[in-house]
Symmetry: C2
Subunit: 369 residues, 2 copies
Amino acid sequence: MTGPAFTPLVESLPSTVPFVGPETQERARGSAFAARLGANESVFGPSPKAVAAMQAAAAECWKYGDPENHDLRHALAERHGVDPAHIAIGEGIDGMFGYLNRMFVEPGVTVATSLGAYPTFNFHVAGYGGRLVTVPFVDDREDPESLLALAAREGARLIYLSNPDNPMGSWHPGKTIEAMVERLPAGALLCLDEAYIDFAPDGTAPEIDPADPRVIRFRTFSKAWGMAGARVAYSISAAPLATAFNKVRNHFGVNRVAQAGALASLADPGWLAHVRGEVEAARARIGRISAANGLTALPSAANFVAIDCGADGAFAKAVLEGLIARGIFARMPFAAPQNRCIRISAGRPADLDAFEAALPVALAAARGE
Amino acid sequence: MTGPAFTPLVESLPSTVPFVGPETQERARGSAFAARLGANESVFGPSPKAVAAMQAAAAECWKYGDPENHDLRHALAERHGVDPAHIAIGEGIDGMFGYLNRMFVEPGVTVATSLGAYPTFNFHVAGYGGRLVTVPFVDDREDPESLLALAAREGARLIYLSNPDNPMGSWHPGKTIEAMVERLPAGALLCLDEAYIDFAPDGTAPEIDPADPRVIRFRTFSKAWGMAGARVAYSISAAPLATAFNKVRNHFGVNRVAQAGALASLADPGWLAHVRGEVEAARARIGRISAANGLTALPSAANFVAIDCGADGAFAKAVLEGLIARGIFARMPFAAPQNRCIRISAGRPADLDAFEAALPVALAAARGE
């Protein structure tokens, strides 16, 4: 008995889960984490209005969701002051990255990103047979200049940039992104990942004509809106590109309850302001905890902070493992020299109490003390 | 300013939504449907235990879902008496069909199905550049004999069969499917869509060795479990194929709240029995309503009934449009001669009251009376 043959491309792909989830680690540990600060989830949760909307919608989930995501799409268009034709909605930014790569990437196509930038984007590039080319971070930031030069030199069709950046929390002013757009190589698409934009200083979001065919920007309900598990994100792009998602997407793929929650979130802008305030306070406290332990917290425009552990990647990894062993779920950058850092999500006071207690012990253990 | 080039395959695809949703029709009508009987959703809803679990999980949706779907996968394995390694979980059967086609289909690959069988499967075949070959239904059933002959003749890599069938509600005994498996051409994979199996007579589900690499079967929480809008389905297959979904899937794609709802459903088998009873009663009543109007309801092993309108596709379409105009959301088969029918989902008494009132008026209008 033989089964069917995979396509050669799929045959060549690994069967791995790119990110090990905290639940997997908890099952291996045999106990729950005291603080869940590794995935830049928003521990401050969704808006109470969103929770109420999702609870009310739960009994109605026998109905498929609206495949046009009509109401949410229109509410988002109003929020951003664009025509609904510029908005596409999908199952989280990860899901939309899959569709985007499917539309543009095949063997022979080149994609440019930064070494150590978001791995799930790279997962999809590889998954469609693309060739990934990278430039290093400069001063712990993704670097528009070298990305542009790389993309021009290598003939990249897609250029990935996150602003603010994950995993470092660094950012560029919107003006820098606007200048980058003006210098994009012909035929290239800037994939601007703005998952963390709600935490950034005013002026970080660039002004971009939504009809510009050279840019697609991604926003999500997973971060500031506190709905990572609901899987709702959207893009703003030229209308033909927004419509093109219909060629490949899972039309009924967005959970109906999640649609209701996202829509209710938008009606509660005060929640965003509240979460921003909590994140700002948490970032400041993570900075103080770092300093008290002789470490340097990097400036962050996101809901997490990269902490420079002051040595190499092996040392930071030892600190990270020490934290995990002490019940703190955290992660760290993949690429040097950013991997001298650990990355801690903004937490509630109790989460950061637990982190504050665990960090000196983890540090001492990493130093072999 | 020019944007990037699509891949030639994606460039060739249409940007259409394969199924127009009822919400779109309601927006066009300017009023809600009186009865929602077009998408084979379960109007009987999810288990109250599932609703409670989803309501409790709503506030926790700031956490990503477990990317391994561990608890649900293990509960399903226990339910089916198989090792968890045989279970893969995804964002509804539609989402899983996307992944499956991505794994096996590329230009040059042939896929065999029945003319008029599930269009979303075909959407994915086309989306990956496959060549779709079809055989007609025989006596309003998908026909294993001619599918096997077609697959062998055309060298099909995938063979799609739904049992019970959508849109006709017809079915084959499990023994027929078992015999079909034994005669599959070498290198072919039988994609057995069992979305409606919970409504079928005992003996409709075949006994298939879960380690058999020639078959993958699909089950869903969208039908009998009443959670279509939640987007949770699963497959049972040989372990290497189950694992291979990890090559391409959106690992964090299953909504966390939906995972909780699905898990709670499995702990409430009484709900399934309740829904089965309701569906059986609804099918019988749809039969009586049909007969009272001089029409023939076809036997059904699903949660819907195909009603033979007694003439051609144009007439059935006129009846369908008459129902829709009178507030009854329904659909009909695409292909002749099945398109002599309309398809009505099992409804609650009030839904079927509305259908009963609208049908004679729609029929008279279609007859030009």
